[in-house]
Amino acid sequence: MTQNNENKVMSGREAVSSFVHDGDELIIGNYTVGTCTELVFEICRQQKENFTLYSQSGILDVDILVNAGCVDRLVTTYVMRSGGKTGGGAVERALQDGSIEMEDYTNFNYNARLAAGMHGFTFMPVLEGVMKTDLFKKRSFMGKDKYRVIECPYTGKKVLTVPAANPDVCIVHVQRADKYGNAQYWGALGSVAAAALCSDRIIVSCEEIVDHDVIKRSPNFTIIPAFRVNAVVEAPWGVHPTEVLGYYNRDLFFYGMFTNANTRADKVKEWMDEWVYGCPDRETYINHYINKYGSGMLDRLRAKPFYSAPANYGAAFTSAWDEKGKERSMGITLDEMEKLLDERGMLYE
């Protein structure tokens, strides 16, 4: 457990070298939207390896980690397919050459593993419809522990269950956080909070670090509390070429360039050399992008404002004592209260 009043701001490099270790169970917190590419790239640059990687729905994040050789085992529900009939992508190549093992779940049943882990349960009942399918029957490295069937103690019905997941470390990108790690995220919630909260360590990257007061004024946006967070990385454009609601749209052009490259091992290696290994951090990456394609290409992606209506977190008063110094329910001042307590023999030396 970390502190809730400790400044945890650090660089991506420092965060990854401190909290991501070879052989970890690593989980990508983001789901389909706004995936934490800067942290993913940093993990590749530090050549971390032998991960069991969890992802609710793999997009370029999973394929980049697999391309980089970081992954031994993959637990997911969905992988990106880069080409049509040929050149599916890194995961397909790795399955074909036997360099990764993979366990397939459905979206709910994967998410349920995180939910169990997040709440401290050892397993979770799940949607049993898959029992007729190969999702239930075909098992990889988890074997019998992919799914187990128990009897419901109340109804006697067969209940399908999945084991809790408690990954070693979660990497996740959000809109904003304070320096303590209170992380605020809005839009498509997916399984982002569960992925973070089921993990032992959490690295948060964000578009901007804001004052703690901003967090306090809108606590319903906070999906990860400071006391669970190990590192806060400020990374503007930190999920490019994916998107952040309220900040920028997906860069379909650049995403397409990756997808094209990813259909072939040699082409994607060139892409990785240029954009992942060739750029030591996000700032360099963005500058390289601007030099190559022009800043107009990024400006076109910037979000125009569409603010939420402010929610009033206010109350009738913020002190037990009214403007005349009288306690609101008893109608006496502090002096009067102390005098009364003394008179009645209720104060002790």
């Binding site: 599916g88 007729k132 190969d134 999702l135």
Partner: protein
């Protein structure tokens, strides 16, 4: 005579008619989201459009990039999480969902996981995502097949249709009674499932397509409805709506990609 349409437009518009007013509709990305938007605008103003990412009651203003794309709309009514999007389906609050197909058998069982051997696949397809959960518990499911195939036996059984046919799905006790795929829409026609045998049959055929062309793609002896009709010709209003909302869906992936890359490179070049 109404105006000419693209094949994608025909598919979107045909799909949209499966959505009825006041239904809760779980949408997948691409064709279904556009169909959902069309249905809401033209036939089902009180439908609630949902996505498994937890975006509930939204109205797309541009085509979606994926099922967590809150950039496609200006706000939405209810932000929940993925877990709850599925438990609301499990509890029976989703009337219709839409799923794409990699392989399908005659009883509407679906593979979206791989072609070839699961452990050493010829093609690794995306996987289940939410598909197996949704087709299990939505009251009905609309399947779309573009680029996939009809097979005697699935290479991997991802999502349960009518299992071995007949009453086997209902008898299993695993799914809500009467649930399952209600329609398969392919690039050639509309297929339905026999109420007794649950075997798929050709119900409607798209304009300009012959029964032989449909049969050529199906490895079993495909039954054809005695009342086989032609798929409705889209109206101008429907075509205009799709073309304005989702022009990239109208033209399809190939033309879109070609023009998109050309245009982006031109723009990047101009800037330098």
């Amino acid at each position: 005579m109404s105006k000419k349409y693209t094949l994608n437009e025909l598919l979107i518009i045909t799909c949209a008619k499966e959505i009825k007013d006041y239904q809760n509709v779980m949408l997948g990305v691409g064709l279904p989201t556009t169909a959902g938007a069309l249905a809401k605008a033209l036939y089902a103003p009180n439908a609630t459009l949902m996505m498994e990412s937890g975006i509930i009651d939204f109205e797309p203003l541009v085509p979606l990039n994926h099922i967590a794309d809150a950039h496609s709309c200006q706000g939405f009514s209810y932000a929940t999480d993925l877990f709850s999007a599925f438990t609301m389906t499990y509890r029976g609050f989703v009337d219709v969902c839409f799923l794409g197909v990699g392989q399908i058998d005659k009883y509407g069982n679906v593979n979206t996981t791989c072609v070839g051997d699961y452990r050493n696949p010829e093609l690794r397809l995306p996987g289940s995502g939410g598909a197996a959960d949704f087709i299990s518990y939505a009251k009905k499911t609309v399947l779309t097949l573009r680029g996939g195939q009809f097979v005697e036996k699935l290479d991997y059984f991802t999502s349960p249709g009518y299992l071995e046919g007949g009453s086997s799905r209902d008898d299993s006790g695993l799914y809500p009674q009467g649930s399952g795929p209600s329609m398969l829409l392919s690039t050639r026609g509309v297929f339905r499932f026999d109420p007794e045998t649950k075997e798929m049959y050709l119900s409607r055929i798209h304009p300009g397509v012959t029964i032989e062309e449909v049969r050529k793609e199906v490895p079993w002896d495909l039954k054809v409805s005695p009342n086989l009709s032609q798929t409705d010709h889209p109206t101008d209003r429907e075509i205009d709506f799709v073309r304005r909302l989702a022009p990239t869906e109208s033209v399809g992936r190939k033309v879109r990609t070609e023009l998109f890359i050309e245009n982006a490179l031109k723009r990047a070049g101009k800037r330098k």
